[in-house]
């Protein structure tokens, strides 16, 4: 039972990563590789700030800012430098590796004995693993509401229009370059924030912790979409969080079933591939009708 609580807590914390990528991957229709660099960047900034005496909250907000900067760099490379988007993201991701080493001064910093967002008296009074559940819920609720509010404003609508059809958006007088830059900043800010929270929950920042994060983010988005079908935009944001939780529960189940840990990467890829192929499999075998009604493929 405790392990399930732990998995839910982890899912809530990692959901920020999925939400961040959702803005670029689904709404702006761009696959942003920057996140593999921004995630450890957020962790590096937060942990370094904390060890230098910043309050955990200030350190976490700094991580958000650092993520936004990284997003802006990718955005400028793409919009002003005319570098293909995938490449722009990879360039920033590669560069942040050196930046992270510079920030931390070494490859791994521990938070043992330091104050974090999880060490307040309220957090430590909770039952085991409920600290990440409570903090995750609070952060996710605030971020999801802010995103819903943002996407509902005129600016947010122009943001969505840019992703749907950039040419049309431009003809309507939307500065698509600016909206893309802002979108990337918000998205990577959230990823940096996620890195900061995960580092505080894990108790360390490591320069290699970004490896594989993009798969985790995609898993949250895709599992959320496949599991819950046709939803409004704001409901879809909630689905990302649920997708992230389900992904952690699947991993836990795999571990509990006693699969060799060597096969873990293979299994998580298979789970993800099956989820992504579900619309195709459905066409062939009509497997979904009895279980899922009206699932939207959403691509």
């Amino acid at each position: 039972m405790n392990l399930i609580v732990s998995a839910i807590g982890q899912g809530l914390l990692w959901a920020l990563l999925g939400l961040g990528l959702y803005l670029t991957f689904r709404i702006l229709n761009l696959a942003d590789m920057t996140v593999e660099g921004t995630f450890p960047l957020g962790a590096a900034v937060a942990v370094t700030a904390i060890t230098h005496g910043f309050s955990p909250l200030a350190a976490t907000l700094l991580a958000f800012g650092a993520g936004m900067l990284a997003g802006l760099v990718t955005g400028l490379l793409y919009t002003k430098g005319k570098i293909p988007f995938l490449l722009a993201g990879i360039l920033t991701m590669t560069a942040t590796y050196s930046v992270n080493l510079r920030i931390m001064g070494k490859s791994n910093i521990s938070l043992l004995g330091q104050k974090t967002l999880f060490s307040g008296s309220f957090m430590t009074s909770l039952p085991q693993y409920f600290d990440s559940v409570v903090l995750g819920m609070i952060v996710i609720a605030i971020i999801t509401l802010l995103l819903i509010f943002f996407l509902d404003t005129d600016y947010g609508q122009s943001f969505i229009a840019t992703g749907d059809n950039p040419v049309m958006a431009k003809s309507l007088g939307i500065h698509t370059d600016a909206t893309i830059n802002v979108g990337l900043m918000i998205s990577n800010g959230l990823v940096g924030l996620c890195g900061a929270l995960v580092a505080q929950s894990n108790g360390y920042a490591d320069v290699n912790m970004g490896i594989g994060t993009i798969v985790i983010a995609l898993a949250s988005i895709i599992i959320g979409e496949v599991a819950f079908g046709e939803l409004t935009l704001s409901q879809r944001l909630v689905a990302v969080t649920l997708g992230s939780i389900i992904y952690r529960l699947i991993l836990l189940a795999v571990l509990q079933l006693g699969f060799s840990a060597n096969d873990l990467n293979l299994i998580s890829s298979i789970v993800l591939a099956l989820c992504m192929m579900l619309p195709q499999l459905d066409k062939l075998f009509h497997i979904r009708k009895p279980f899922f009604k009206g699932v939207q493929t959403n691509d």
């Binding site: 998995a7 043992l112 085991q128 409920f130 108790g203 836990l252």
Partner: protein, 330 residues
Amino acid sequence: MKRMYTVIAILLAFLGVAYFKENGGIVKQAKPKVGVLTLMHHPALDQIYKGFVHGLAKEGYHNGKNITIDYQNANGDQSNLKTMANKLVNENSTVLFGITTPASQALANSTKKIPIVLGAVTNPQGAGLVKNNKRPGGNITGISDQAPVKEQLQLVHKFMPHAKTLGIIYTSSDSSAVTEYKEFMKYAKQMHLNLKAYSISNSNDLNQVSQQMLSEVDAVIVPTDNTIAGAMQTLVKNANAVNKPVFPAVDTMVKQGGVATYSINQYKLGVEGGKLTADILKGKKKPSTTAIKYIRHGEPVLNLKQARKLGLHVPASFQREAEKYGEVIK
């Protein structure tokens, strides 16, 4: 949409029940359980685990008979470490064994009560795992994999007493390598040796950086560095091209074309870890008062074939020592 609300309701209901459920009832286990957490597969890390199992067996603890070993490997993905550490802690492991720094940190962050034994953490104090390497204080102790740096520098000096400049190359993101590089610099200063540092960020940089380095130095030192260990052939090829020797910190790197070293045997390190774990299981030792153990005396390893190829004069005393206590590659 309905399905989404159902899932949210189920999750919340579950969390509600879990919140109020008493967590006191720890099940007494008949067999003690040893949890092992490692970051990834790597020849050296796998050797430590094998040694660990053997060390436990030497002390009378056989996996499956009177203890259960739960081995978890995160496959290089650090996001798995937390879940695996929680799993090991939750299943009431009696003692935990962490291989690599991130794995040990994940364990340390999951429990303050269950004893943790560190394997292959070069500097536990520097990694924030213990308050003090001599008196850990908490629930953590272990074996450091720091190579006998001073012995190695003396060895290089023995081989090349007239060398003007030595070069050291390491990976800047490998915390063990960085710790050892700093130790090397410290001792080099004490011994008045001119040691110049070069760093790479991944194995792809090695070719170019090592060529640059070899044009500036007389011999090369390599600390315990996973990245360079994996790309040792590149370094050796470049060094042979200019007829300069490489002195690595690890025996496997000597076999791949290094000249000589005093190396820590990873397998033996694992055995020591297993013995320490057994002592804790028996209640003979407590982590808080057990100092981090360093393996002071490395095993002499000499690659005679390589030394002859480079026309190096091999100190006779070292060759005898290697023949007697260590390994000579001919």
